[in-house]
């Protein structure tokens, strides 16, 4: 096991924070863009960029909807995204174990 196994899409502190936050939600839950932004303390522009990258990789789904008359975007971790996140954290744990041995 080496760092080469780390998924380059998630292997960025910012995107790891995004994915970890989405993974901490209940399975099958979506979170609104403003709430996600608050949980991450990121600028809207920054968050959008990272979400686009994650969406391109198929790790995140963004749903545009309306709450009353205001447009709202909801973000959800896809099954592939959850799997990639679990694999990523598993690799980190293994690397940490390896370093301690």
């Amino acid at each position: 096991m080496s760092e080469v196994d780390l998924d380059p899409v998630i292997h960025s502190a910012s995107r790891l924070r995004v994915v970890a936050t989405l993974a901490a939600l209940e399975r099958g839950d979506r979170v609104s863009f403003p709430r996600l932004q608050k949980l991450l303390d990121m600028t809207a522009g920054n968050l959008s960029t990272h979400l686009r990258r994650l969406e391109e990789a198929g790790y995140v789904t963004q749903t545009k909807t309306h709450v009353g008359r205001t447009p709202a975007t909801y973000v959800e971790l896809s099954t592939a995204g959850r799997l990639a996140f679990e694999r990523y954290t598993h690799t980190l744990t293994q690397l940490l174990k390896g370093a301690q041995e």
């Binding site: 380059p8 970890a20 209940e26 608050k38 954290t89």
Partner: protein, 221 residues
């Protein structure tokens, strides 16, 4: 940490991301843990809800007991009932506002589950109200009415706590539900007005203990 190319050579390299990569596995896992905590802290706070309802039960049932000790029917007077209703409504408002804020901006499975759970409370208490109305209509004396009203209400509360504990895998919620049922059963078996005192001390006190345990559990997690 070595530099790596993205899987697809055709993809842009995102040079900024290489600098942004967590420096080592430990800090990567720390990021994950920190965000998990952040999400949990933004969610419904069991310490707050146990605390608010613990105080409500303690004060509300103590007031009922106090007025019942001097009442010829050995049950709470209108004033005692009013205090109980006032603290219960206050606790309900705090609960609804807190839950609405904590779940704002989250949609999907947990929202549906929450709606169904919320309606179970409403339906349960409408059923309890009608049951009590039936006992009153059948000419039950004040002590019978008091025991049925309290017992049915606590059964709704206890069972829904247990269901919620099972649903969200919260052992504390599950156990406090079982404790509430045991408390209400004990309160209905002792003579009035001691039943109110059992409810205040074991019920309200039990919920305050749950609040403290929830706080300790959270600090350890």
């Amino acid at each position: 940490m070595e530099r790596r190319e993205p899987h697809d050579p055709g993809e842009p390299a995102y040079p900024a991301d290489v600098d942004d990569a967590p420096p080592d596995p430990r800090s990567g896992l720390a990021i994950v843990a920190a965000q998990r905590r952040k999400v949990r802290d933004s969610d419904v706070d069991d310490r707050l809800l146990f605390g608010v309802w613990g105080v409500a039960w303690l004060v509300g049932y103590a007031a009922q007991w106090w007025t019942a000790t001097t009442s010829p029917t050995r049950t709470a007077t209108g004033q005692g009932g009013l205090v109980f209703a006032a603290v219960a409504v206050a606790a309900l408002v705090v609960t609804l506002v807190h839950v609405a804020r904590a779940t704002h901006g989250v949609a999907g499975t947990s929202k549906q589950v929450g709606m169904m759970y919320g309606w179970a409370w409403t339906i349960g208490f409408v059923g309890q109200g009608l049951l009590v109305a039936g006992v009153v209509g059948a000419g039950g004396n004040p002590e019978v009415i008091a025991i049925v009203a309290n017992g049915a209400a606590c059964l709704v509360v206890g069972l829904l706590y247990m269901a919620g504990g099972a649903l969200w895998q919260q052992l504390s919620l599950y156990l406090i539900g079982a404790w509430m049922i045991a408390t209400a059963a004990a309160a209905s078996l002792v003579t009035m007005p001691t039943g109110y005192l059992v409810m205040a001390l074991a019920g309200g006190g039990g919920m305050l203990v749950a609040a403290v345990l929830a706080a300790l559990h959270r600090r350890r997690a």
